[in-house]
């Protein structure tokens, strides 16, 4: 089956960045970034605003071209000069705004731009594949023939993730997938990420939410001011992560925590 192209031996290195840098004029957005992603692994990318997360995502999605450094997919050096090229090489991106067409139904959105039989679309086959994919993800979509407009935020996120999986990518990048979601829906999306990992895809998760990151990530890569600032695991303490993100153990987050603690003590 087509899945065979995506499933790798778990742990196989599929994406390797070495010394990647990106300048916008005089501004250095990224400098000397190293990043490894293995098959069946969730790598979280965290950092403060302006740390370079979005730039790195855009470099990997083929939107921006890096100024320096090398990108290797499965051991072969590649250039990602267009979004189409990135998709071709098996790097799929779920953007923060999802980019779904609200007036079309779930099947149409999943297959948008990749319809089966362009001159006489095979609706039945597309619907079957849509259901199969959604069931594999244990996604709870009531009907694939309803327009996207009738779905909830979490369901839309699910459709967007399912769409990125349709082309059987090796790596899927999720940009803030839980930012707009409620508690239950966030849990659903986290479950989904784990199922994607179980299918053997590499996952890059960009998030501001430390709880979500620690819940699913195998490794946590911290960016700070456009540079690598350490690689951590889910066992790392919250304070340590915040310190890595902000660059100091003495930071606004720790000061606030200390103040709260004082108030409690006094009260």
């Amino acid at each position: 089956m087509e899945h065979a192209t995506a499933t790798h031996a778990p742990g196989e290195l599929i994406l390797r960045l070495r010394g990647v840098g990106k300048n916008f004029g005089a501004v250095t957005a990224l400098k000397d970034i190293d990043l490894d992603v293995h098959a069946g692994e969730v790598v979280a990318l965290v950092g403060d605003n302006g740390a370079g997360k979005s730039t790195l995502v855009k470099v990997l999605a083929g939107v921006h071209q890096p100024t320096t450094g090398t990108i290797e997919v499965q051991g072969k050096p590649v250039t990602l000069d267009t979004p189409g090229k990135a998709l071709e090489l098996g790097i799929a991106t779920v953007f923060q705004d999802l980019a779904l067409c609200e007036n079309l139904d779930v099947v149409a959105n999943l297959f948008l731009g990749h319809e089966i039989c362009p001159w006489r679309m095979d609706e039945v086959q597309m619907e079957v594949r849509a259901w199969t994919l959604l069931q594999e993800l244990a996604a709870r979509i009531p009907s694939v023939r309803e327009p996207i407009a009738s779905l909830s935020g979490g369901q839309r996120q699910t459709v967007a993730i399912a769409r990125s999986l349709l082309l059987e990518p090796q790596i899927i990048m999720l940009d803030e997938p839980t930012a707009a979601l409620g508690v239950a829906q966030t849990a659903e999306v986290l479950n989904l990420i784990e199922r994607v990992r179980a299918r053997g895809h590499g996952v890059i998760l960009i998030s501001h939410n430390m709880e979500d990151v620690r819940a699913v990530a195998d490794r946590i890569v911290v960016l700070r001011l456009g540079r690598n600032n350490g690689v951590y695991t889910a066992e790392t303490s919250h304070q340590e992560l915040v310190a890595a993100i902000t660059g100091a153990s003495e930071n606004s987050v720790s000061r606030r925590a200390a103040r709260k603690l004082e108030e409690v003590d006094q009260g």
Binding site: L98, N103, G113, W119, V124
Partner: protein, 418 residues
């Protein structure tokens, strides 16, 4: 919890695993689904059908001639030209764009027919090809203005309206009007030629047969793929109602002259465009660009090419409409394509249910909408109303159609439909 739902999914059809969804089956289910859709603002073809009934009642009360077979045959003759233009308008409206120069384009096209065919003496086929090529060229220009220069189509085509009108006046020269010979095939096609009776009946029965055959095939495919199938009752009911209606319509028209070839050709193009919009990747991309252009772009759709194609299709259909109008009027004049042609074509598309906001609509809306517009125009003419009143009333009808469109859109948004 997950186990339970998986168990359900295993026993039920692939698409009916979710217990939260009501699965409508049979005739009553179809009726319930229809009522749900309408009450949430998904009106579809409903306003136009109600409109047609109301118009027929009102005008036949005012003047019984309105519903006479001979008059209805005339309405169909008149409808084809504007119908073609409306068909093109559907394409640009689907993208949320507009073409305001369709009237001028059709006028220019009939002028090209007159000049190339009568004045220059070229074969008719060459003249028609010339005006269609002109239509395509104008569409390409609009596409470039929209894609390269980010010019709103509203402004680009508004300037096109004036420019094309100027070109039409220029090539017609000082005489301003060219008469087409009455014995020519083109004018006979536009004024006299009627489909043979047997063919009309055959065509009237075709949709019903196609619906049933299509339903049988789809059901077989879906069952083979373990998807739920809709059942035959709805398809058969639809087919019976449609066939009875169409056969009666043909019978009624045959009491007079019959079904004009011109109208038959128009319906054929409606069917072709409907297939292109519903069953091909191009059509799916049109809806996607109209719904969310950025999402379409990120899905790998070439948004610029889709826009270009829509403008080209629109202008070419407008040019074809101009050819039909010339055939109908047996002349190419300065007045061709002026006046209410623009508004009638856009109104027809919107009244038929194609949204001005993009992403919603169908080729059939051009057919139904143009029948409404032509019925109104014909009824008002029968009442001997001056064109000043006709313009005002047609303007009001367009305004009402757009209000219905906007309100339905708001209602859909609040009911979670697109």
């Amino acid at each position: 919890m997950a186990q339970i739902s998986q168990k359900n999914a295993a026993t039920a059809h692939l698409d009916q695993g979710d217990s939260r969804v009501r699965h409508d089956t049979g005739l009553s289910g179809a009726l319930r689904g229809f009522i749900d859709r309408v009450s949430s603002g998904d009106l579809g073809m409903l306003p136009v059908v109600i409109g047609l009934v109301l118009i027929s009642i009102a005008f036949s009360l005012l003047n019984p001639v309105f519903l006479a077979p001979a008059n209805l045959v005339n309405v169909l003759f008149d409808a084809a030209a504007v119908g073609f233009i409306a068909l093109g308008v559907v394409c640009v409206l689907l993208l949320g764009e507009i073409d305001l120069s369709i009237g001028s384009m059709s006028g220019l096209s009939s002028a090209i027919i007159g000049v190339l065919w009568i004045n220059t003496g070229l074969p008719l086929a060459v003249a028609i090809a010339g005006s269609l090529a002109m239509g395509a060229l104008v569409g390409v220009v609009y596409g470039i203005l929209r894609n390269r220069f980010e010019m709103p189509s509203f402004v680009a085509t508004l300037s096109g309206l004036l420019a094309l009108l100027g070109l039409q006046l220029y090539i017609l020269g000082p005489t301003g009007s060219i008469n087409l010979p009455f014995t020519s095939p083109l004018v006979r096609f536009g004024q006299i030629l009627i489909m043979p009776e047997w063919l009309s009946y055959l065509v009237a029965m075709l949709p019903g047969v196609l619906i049933v055959v299509g339903a049988v095939r789809t059901n077989a495919q879906r069952t083979a793929a373990n998807l739920s199938s809709a059942g035959m009752s709805v398809a058969i009911a639809k087919a019976v109602v449609l066939t009875l209606g169409l056969v009666f319509a043909v019978y009624y028209l045959e009491l007079s002259r019959g079904v004009p070839w011109m109208f038959g050709v128009f319906v054929l193009f409606v069917v072709l465009l409907d297939y292109a919009l519903v069953r091909t990747q191009w059509g799916r991309s049109m809806f996607a660009v109209g719904g969310n252009a950025e999402a379409a772009r990120r899905s790998g759709i070439n948004v610029r090419r889709i826009r270009m194609s829509a403008f080209v299709v629109c202008s070419t259909f407008a040019a074809l409409g101009g050819v039909f109008a010339a055939a109908r009027l047996a002349s190419a004049s300065q007045q061709a394509g002026s006046g209410d042609v623009n508004l009638n074509a856009i109104a027809a598309a919107v009244i038929g249910g194609t949204s001005l906001f993009g992403g919603r609509g169908s080729a059939w809306s051009a057919l139904l909408g143009v029948l409404v517009i032509m019925a109104i125009s014909n009824g008002l003419t029968l009442l001997n109303l001056s064109s000043s009143l006709r313009y005002m009333i047609t303007g009001a009808v367009l305004a009402i159609a757009v209000i219905v469109d906007s309100l339905a859109r708001r209602s859909r948004a609040s009911h979670g439909r697109a």
